[in-house]
Amino acid sequence: MVAQGIPEIGAYIGFLFVSTVALIIVLRLLITPRDPRPTPEKKKPFESGQIAVGPGRTRFIIQYYPYLLMFVVYDVIAMFLFAWGLNLRALGEAGSLPVLVFIIVLLIPLGYALHLANHRENW
């Protein structure tokens, strides 16, 4: 059983994508002039006139990596919460009990994060 909106949104997104890509390609090819004076400096990375030294992909901000892990988990949590919140009026209090326990269980790591955040040297 095909979803109702598939042909519309599929056509819509396809149209958007193709048109945007086509637009940019056309603009670029038609309007941008050929390089009359190719010099190696043009293609060097931009550092306000300073000559770039060292690798381009440097200084990784690794210390915030756990935030990304938390993001993945909380994104999944959002899915369950949305399924619950949608039906709130019909579920009432009895139906919301599992979700309330769900949220309370998830407040524990949040509290831990708040506790860690107070010790600034760890973040």
Binding site: I6, L68, V72, V76, Y112
Partner: protein, 164 residues
């Protein structure tokens, strides 16, 4: 029309997955994985599960691929050749995987899955929500415990990294 769309999405998923594994540059592989997830999302839309489809996009492409991209960029720009010359072993692996998939497919065909939950013309989101909370409440708590453990683990990881 449905069949055509299904074939298209399946082709995209499988093709992108192959690209993801075979790509020399891992960043391209991660991006191909994102396309594969997009194909899976399309399959969800075909099954009239728009809710799951959009969250597939949000969670897998929006979060998991981001995580993989970040990790890949951390490891290095290129992984080069396959680390072990695994020509013989890959043939054996291919045979075993085909056997496994074949058996799974045959099993799935033979099983009588419980019928649709009287979905009618499109599964109702409210029905999904109610059945999730009323019938699967305990499972939901297990899920929350797993996720809480994951978050606490991630936070604990941040502490050990500081020691360097």
């Amino acid at each position: 029309m449905t069949d055509l769309l299904f074939l298209a999405f399946a082709a995209v998923t499988i093709g992108a997955a192959i690209l993801a594994i075979e790509a020399r540059d891992l960043v391209y592989g991660a991006a191909a994985l994102g396309i594969a997830f997009l194909g899976v999302a399309g399959l969800f839309f075909l099954l009239d599960a728009a809710y799951v489809g959009w969250f597939q996009i949000a969670v897998y492409i929006g979060a998991v691929v981001v995580l993989i991209l970040f990790t890949v960029m951390l490891v290095g720009p290129r992984m080069g050749e396959a680390p072990l010359g695994l020509k013989r072993v890959s043939l054996l692996a291919a045979i075993l995987v085909s056997l496994l998939l074949g058996m799974t497919g045959a099993l799935a065909n033979a099983t009588a899955f419980p019928g649709q939950d009287s979905c009618g013309s499109g599964c109702d989101l409210y029905l999904l929500s109610t059945s999730l909370l009323k019938n699967y409440g305990v499972q939901l708590e297990f899920v929350s415990l797993v996720m809480a453990a994951a978050v606490i683990g991630a936070l604990a990881l941040s502490k050990t990294d500081r020691g360097q």
